[in-house]
């Protein structure tokens, strides 16, 4: 049995370099012929008989015999563009074409390409597969009789969601736009934040069947080069059917697939993404997903929130501490309660112990079981509330959970202190959103260990977790920087948020080649007031 497991693991770990060669087997290029009908026949076969594939036969201007065909997929293209800027010039610019009608056909297509079609992006190809894949992407292909080259025009124009408010990362003061599912929109949103010409988007296509467009975004000169090459390497290694969401990519390229804590950051907001890129990270945008990945990702980033930077420093620092406290509480509180109740009653202050003991009288379950039951109940409620159809969602709110808890207490199934502990834990767990899942798992582990071995067990497990985190790296950067290894400059943005005028350099852990972010010495100062003329009177 163990043998099977280890064999499987070895297979998963094998590098996929052998898989890549298989993909290249279809390397032979098929070329277009001069025969229009022949080409159309092949294309019809490849594209299938789907009803949304439009093949429009036409003649270039009314007087000629030049047959042509325009191929596009309805729904993917902007119809106005196709009609006005492709079909119309081809069909109606009679005079112009007539003048050139007697020229050789090959230059006819060049002429069309250069002077007739009033479109922005246009290219030509002789490769049938390229025609097919580009048409599937939303481009329009034009084939002419007697010409081996096909024109490909970018006419993407499908229905997309409007730019709305981010649903997961709420910011009170900051901008309220969030990414959508179209890559181009997202890159545009990013470009609006960073207008530096050195902002680069490197495009890749990943996914056998989905051929998803993936863009790696970074600022040349700020993001270290070895980071980019490493990311590119990892992306190129991916060989899968489809990339449906940014999470797919995350799971293929992350440093530690088994780790509880994410080593890749994820965000929905252009301003957050821009800030992270400006600090020296690289971002990955995926067509079809409203989330963007950032690498490398450090532990401390989970506690950073865009509002921190838009608000005043003292308040932001206090809120950071609150988040850390809440996070720690949400992992430890049930465990501490269980271990104190079951193993170390001497650690309660006396009056508290009397109250807790009073509440525990007559309860049927041992405290560890009780805690696990309540925690599971909470998780069930939470998940149900998420997935439930919206009309019912209100009923299953946390208040509802509390009512259930209260009823359980009255029925004598659980103790009142336990309900409070679990409720506090539950609410605190939402303070740090990226780690909510990891936190939930840790919470359960801690509670179970607390039930078996009390505080000692909890401390031991905690040491193990810390050890694991300390060993974790994200793209080569130690996960717990800047606390461990210690980097004093980097501490400006960890548990405190130093005022913006003090944050002169980029986070040192990211080892950017250009460390200077702003000029030092910009603390606002009130200019010395000159006595105004009015005061003398």
């Amino acid at each position: 049995m163990f043998r099977l497991l280890s064999k499987k693991m070895r297979r998963w770990r094998t590098s996929s370099s052998d898989n890549q060669t298989q993909a290249k087997q279809n390397g032979s290029i098929r070329y277009l012929s001069k025969n229009l009908d022949g080409n159309l026949h092949i294309l019809r076969e490849e594209l299938g008989q789907s009803s949304d594939v439009i093949i429009r036969d036409m003649k270039i201007s009314s007087n000629s015999n030049v047959d042509a065909a325009v191929i596009y997929i309805d729904g993917l293209v902007d119809r106005n563009l196709v009609n006005h800027d492709i079909l119309q010039p081809l069909m109606f610019n009679l005079q112009v074409i007539k003048d050139n009608i007697n020229q050789k056909h090959s230059s006819l297509i060049d002429f069309i390409k250069s002077s007739v079609l009033t479109v922005g992006q246009i290219s030509g190809t002789e490769d049938i597969d390229k025609v097919i894949s580009n048409v599937l992407k939303g481009q329009t292909a034009i084939l002419l009789e007697g010409v081996t080259q096909a024109l490909l025009i970018d006419t993407k124009g499908w229905e997309t969601r409007n730019i709305e408010e981010p649903t997961n990362e709420v910011s009170i003061r900051g901008p309220k736009d969030s990414f959508t599912e179209t890559l181009r929109t997202n890159t545009a949103l990013l470009r609006r934040k960073i207008r530096d010409p050195r902002l680069t988007f490197q495009s890749l296509q990943i996914g056998e069947r989905s051929k998803t467009d993936v863009a790696v975004a970074y600022i040349k000169g700020i993001t270290p080069d070895h980071l980019i090459s490493e990311i590119n390497q990892r992306l190129k290694r991916i060989d899968t059917d489809a990339i449906l969401d940014v999470g797919y990519i995350e799971q293929f390229i992350e440093d530690s697939p088994a780790s509880l804590f994410p080593t890749v950051g994820i965000t929905q907001r252009p301003d957050v993404l821009a800030a992270k890129i400006l600090e020296g990270r690289a971002a990955i945008l995926v067509d079809g997903s409203p989330m963007a990945l950032t690498m490398p990702f450090l532990f401390i980033e989970g506690f950073q929130n865009p509002d921190d930077y838009y608000a005043r420093p003292f308040f932001a620092s206090a809120i950071r501490w609150l988040r850390l406290l809440g996070f720690i509480l949400s992992i430890y509180l049930p465990g501490i309660f269980v271990s104190l109740t079951a193993f170390h009653p001497e650690l309660f202050p006396t009056q508290l112990l009397v109250s807790v003991a009073a509440a525990r009288e007559g309860l049927p379950f041992p405290v560890a079981i009780e805690a696990l039951l309540m925690l599971s109940l909470f998780e069930i409620l939470r998940e149900a509330g998420l997935r439930m159809p919206r009309s019912l969602g209100q009923a299953v709110s946390i208040v509802g959970a509390l009512v259930i808890g209260q009823a359980a207490v009255s029925a004598g199934l659980v103790g009142a202190p336990m309900v409070i502990v679990v409720a506090a834990t539950a609410i605190a767990s939402f303070l740090v959103v990226p780690y909510a899942d990891a936190g939930a798992l840790l919470r359960f582990a801690m509670t179970i260990v607390a039930g078996f071995l009390g505080l000692f067990g909890m401390v031991i497990i905690q040491l193990e977790i810390l050890s694991y985190l300390a060993a974790l790296r994200s793209l080569g950067v130690p996960y717990l920087s800047p606390v461990a290894p210690l980097n004093i400059r980097g501490l400006k943005d960890t548990l405190i948020r130093a005022p913006l005028w003090a944050m002169d350099s980029r986070p040192a852990s990211l080892e950017s080649p250009d460390m200077r972010r702003q000029s030092p010495g910009q603390m606002p100062r009130v200019p010395k007031a000159k006595p105004s003329k009015r005061e003398g009177q």
Partner: protein
């Protein structure tokens, strides 16, 4: 070969990991299987040396019902809250008794919240060494618990009395003792402090004494209450005498344990603001002279003379205070000599200052002690005279 090795490793790992889950249940005690002992009474039979322990344990369900009804917690008349219960056991030694506990108790005793250890008068006169040994050797109880000597013969008498204001009797008793220490009447002595005094070769341990009083309530019913009535003085582990109220106060003045309180003199009452004391030893050959210097500041709270305030009167009051304090301390000093017990820690004071000579003095301490000359110097200062500076009725 490799496969077998791997299997062996897996088996070994399972064997190692399994105990983790089977474990810990040794030490896990559900709260409702514990009986929280709030006070422990020790009675040692003077003739046989048998130990009788009285356990005052908390009944949590009573607390629950009393706390969940707001305003219904106060008893009416004489019916006390039944929040505690008493158990008693006798055996040849403390652990013998403890081992019998299970015979009548449904729960495991838990001493980590014990607030007071009460010693019956009989036992104390015989010597409480069994307690001291078990306490020091077994870390089941806290160094902060209070030592209390019962003025009644048996400790169990004290543990029965329910005052009614505090939920749990032992907590109430501890609070009473601590309050009397704060008001500078009697010392509050923790187990740790007692042990320290015991370990010092010359100092005598002390502990407050609590007695029972009968009171008649407003409707004529009788109720019994506890009260701190003195300070017990030990030599070694045996009680050899006690200090009354005045002497106890004097003791507190001398050892710098005055917090808040009042000095009563015939013409006035003064509230103590701060008080500091120092014990200054002086060695003259074989003769030890101790000066107890006391520095005190106070406010005037009650003036019985019908006169306006002036600086003469203030000076008189200060002198009066000093005299009163001095006489209290003197009383304590005299009693300590009478009992031949160094309650002030004079030996330690001499040791600290004359460490070379101490080597020679220590064996002779029993002779030296009675011959110590003690001088008390008190400095007082009246700070405030209150809101009025003229008398309401003038003579």
């Amino acid at each position: 070969m490799k496969r077998e090795k791997r299997i062996k490793i897996y088996v070994a790992m399972v064997l190692i990991i399994m105990p983790i889950f089977l474990s810990g249940c040794w030490d896990s005690h559900e709260l409702n299987k514990l009986s929280i002992v709030s006070g422990l009474g020790w009675d040692i039979d003077p003739d046989t040396g048998e130990v009788t322990l009285t356990y005052q344990s908390i009944i949590p369900s009573e607390i629950k019902s009393s706390s969940s009804s707001y305003g219904g917690g106060e008893p009416k008349g004489g019916s006390p809250l039944r929040t505690i219960k008493l158990d008693q056991d006798t055996g040849s030694s403390p652990y013998d008794v403890l081992s019998r506990y299970a015979q009548h108790a449904s729960r495991i005793p838990f001493y980590q919240h014990t607030q007071v250890y009460v010693f019956g008068k009989e036992g104390v006169q015989r010597g409480i060494y069994p307690f001291l040994d078990t306490q020091a050797r077994n870390p089941v109880s806290r160094p902060n618990a209070l030592m209390v000597v019962s003025a009644e013969k048996k400790a169990s008498d004290i543990l029965e009395i329910q005052d009614g204001l505090e939920n749990i009797q032992a907590f109430g008793m501890a609070a009473v003792i601590k309050l009397s220490a704060t008001f500078s009447k009697y010392p509050a002595v923790t187990v740790l402090q007692f042990q320290n005094r015991l370990l010092s070769k010359t100092t005598a341990p002390i502990a407050p004494m609590v007695g029972i009083f009968e009171e008649t309530g407003p409707e004529g019913e009788k109720s019994r209450k506890i009260r701190v009535i003195g300070t017990a003085v030990f030599k070694g582990d045996r009680m050899i005498g006690q200090l009354n109220e005045r002497e106890s106060s004097g003791l507190l003045w001398a050892i710098n344990k005055i917090k808040i309180g009042f000095v009563m003199i015939p013409e006035a009452s003064l509230e103590i603001v701060t008080a500091k004391s120092k014990i200054v030893p002086e060695l003259q050959g074989d003769q030890v002279k101790i000066t107890i210097e006391i520095d005190e500041e106070s406010n005037l709270v009650e003036y019985k003379g019908h006169q306006d305030m002036n600086s003469d009167i203030v000076q008189e009051l200060e002198k009066g205070q000093a005299k009163e304090i001095e006489s209290q301390v003197r009383a304590a000093v005299d009693k300590s000599f009478a009992l031949d017990a160094d309650v002030f820690g004079l030996g330690d004071a001499v040791h600290r200052k004359y460490k070379k000579e101490w080597k020679d003095l220590k064996p002779k301490w029993d002779d030296i002690y009675p011959r110590i000359e003690v001088v008390v110097k008190v400095k007082t200062h009246l700070n405030e005279i209150g809101d009025v500076n003229k008398a309401l009725i003038k003579d």
